[in-house]
């Protein structure tokens, strides 16, 4: 699989990732692991069951992973989602109204990346 082509297709930051993860092998290895990571599913499930605290954690995790792997659109969308869901002092989400739109963005970004990686892998 060509990393250049992948990152170009989903608008990722390949240069940055190479600087941090050092080898292309490691990048590929973790892209492979990313496909199997359950954080996204957890986000969707907990959102549907209205478990906002769990949804926050899942968005937060996605944001971290997105940043690590240079998945810029995913990172940005999930970061904004995490901020919207972040529990305030009373444990309520900071900005629940904004969440559905941000969730859609996160979903789009995620599906795009998964689509590209799967296609490149096969």
């Amino acid at each position: 699989m060509s990393l250049e082509s992948c990152y170009e297709q989903f608008g990722g930051d390949l240069e940055g990732v190479r600087g941090r993860l050092l080898t292309d092998d490691r990048i590929k290895k973790f892209m492979g692991i990313f496909i199997q990571d359950t954080s996204f599913q957890l986000l969707i499930d907990s959102w549907e069951s209205k478990d906002n605290a769990e949804a926050f954690r899942a968005a937060h995790t996605l944001k971290g992973i997105g940043r690590d792997l240079g998945f810029t659109p995913l990172c940005e969308a999930s970061s904004a989602l995490a901020d919207a869901l972040r529990p305030d002092e009373n444990g309520n989400p900071a900005n629940l109204e904004a969440a559905p739109a941000l969730l859609d963005q996160t979903k789009d970004a995620y599906e795009l990346i998964i689509g590209v990686i799967s296609a490149e892998l096969s």
């Binding site: 941090r20 993860l21 990571d37 954080s39 937060h60 944001k63 971290g64 992973i65 690590d68």
Partner: protein, 705 residues
Amino acid sequence: MHSAADAKQTILIVDDSAMNRALLADMIGEEYNIIEAENGLEGVGYIQTMGSAISLVLLDIVMPEMDGFEVLAVMNKNDWIKEIPVIMVSSEKASSYIERAYELGVTDFISRPFDANIVRRRVNNTLMLYAKHRALVGMVADQIHEREKGNSLMVAVLGHIVEFRNGESGMHVLHVSTMTDILLHQIAKRTNQYNLTTEQISLISMASALHDIGKISIPDEVLNKPGRLTDEEFERMKTHTIIGAQMLDDLPLYQDEPLVKVAYEICRWHHERYDGRGYPDGLKGDEIPISAQAVALADVYDALTSKRVYKDAYSHEKAMDMILNGECGQFNPFLLECFQECSEEIRGQLGTTSLTDHSNRTVDRIVESVARPEYTAASSRTLSMLEYERMKYRFFASMSNETQYEYTEDPPMMVVSDWGHSELNSEQVIKDPYHDKRILEAFGEEVLEQVHDALRNTTPEDPIVRMDFEGMVDGKMRWYHFTAHAIWSNDDIPAYTGSIGKMVDIHESHQHMVELQHKATHDQLTGLTNHAFARKTIVERMEAHPDHTFVFMLIDLDNFKQANDTWGHLFGDQVLRYLATQLKDSVRDNDIVARVGGDEFLMCMELNTDPRAPIARIYDSIGGEFEGFKISISMGVALARGESADYDTMFRHADQALYAVKRAGRGQYAFYDDMEDMLVEFDVKDTALSAIDLADLQDEKGATK
């Protein structure tokens, strides 16, 4: 000491995202042993069980169950944070988060995105720093330990000799040593003039134990003379300085040991005085080594403040005055200044000195001076001993099929031993076990409440709780023996902080006990209660409820002898079993049905209503045929009302009523109350149980006629 080089170091990664853990583990590389925990609670569990076998923790902040800050709080509370470095890893960039993490004692903070080089370097740096630090503390502690071992031994031996020889308390050597140590530290703080290193001071305080070693050769009558010494005796006494020095000089080996050299100075010159008026050599000023000067002052102070054969103990203040006024000879004015400065510490320490304190104090002090001040809590020696204990504990726990646990009240958390958590099918670390679903299912609320209350009701003096209870394991109820030790804090008002304990499966032996108990209290043939146990139970019930009405029914199976004779004993046994079942079925579960003789049975029940109707119903329910043998019973009934009725009387009454029934032709029942008048004519011996055989005998005779 275990060094960093001899094994892979272990790094604990606590992060709820598997992806993050994998990424960090990959970046850290293979030269480390990686353990992963998926939430804070699990992480704390690892730290609790492995202790400082974990070299470093990488800790995420946002996690379920217990977040990173809570983990840090627990690590602080247990002082783990001092021994196990933590690097916080997080995508949180808010400075408040980072600040809080540092306040809670994290060593470093790595923010996302993870950079392989940065992660590796930070991990290596932190490990190096801590390894160096641990090694340093360890080395110092080991050295001190070696030396202190010798010191303690020497102090002990000399203490005994001195005690033995001149009736001084063995504490004198120890006091002199302690005070010398304090004085010299004070001097070292004020001046470099004497080149007093921590090591040098430790050596001098140890050697000070030998100051009076020469007294061994002074004759008893001089050494222990209660009155004033004559001039000649005093001259004799003075020689202990030279003799002591000579003894050290005569040592065939160790002449070059610094200890021996210092001890020589002390022995020879601890009676010299600053103005040159001491003995044996009349040295002046700083011609007297500082070691001997300090010991001399300590020797005088302790002699003044202790009771001797020739004097009482003076107070600390009085002794200070006497020394400062030159009543015990002149001392170095600078030394006296130092003495005044640390006099309170001396008074305090000498009041409490014991052998172990002494070692610990020196270790503390030296460790303190070379290491960071907050690291005096535990040396790596202590830690490695602790690790050894943990290893031992885990090993024995795994061998014994015992469930062992440690529980802390704050945070409410229980760590269960390996075997235990597989036995209980529970997590190894259980948050809030008193409300944990799995634990509640296994033991039930009532048992947990009992355990909880029992532990809280202990005292620090008597902290042990023992109890047996049932638990549901693998869907089966089994008996367990539970032993626990409540942990109380050392505060003035002790607080309950948790408990440690174990639970042993005693199901088989418990079952055995139950069976034995059953055998001892029941009739083997019919399975009914035996007479002794029935009596005990009834007496207990009557005593518990003296105002209740108890009905005694004594029953005899009619024509039983005939059944036995005609069809044999095996058949007889079957008949008895059949009747026993009928009797049991005729009353309530809680009523007592006992076999009290060959074919006699006792039933006892409590009734609040008029007993006649129920008795009639019971009597009528017995009957029918068993394989051709007609079941018929005779029954005597007695009623116990009020306190005058005791068991034996009631039994006898029922027995007499039964006798009357049998005399009247069997197959009926009668109340003792109804026949009281009639019964008067019977001899007391004429009761059913004593007369039945006789009656049967007569029947037989009648039949053969």
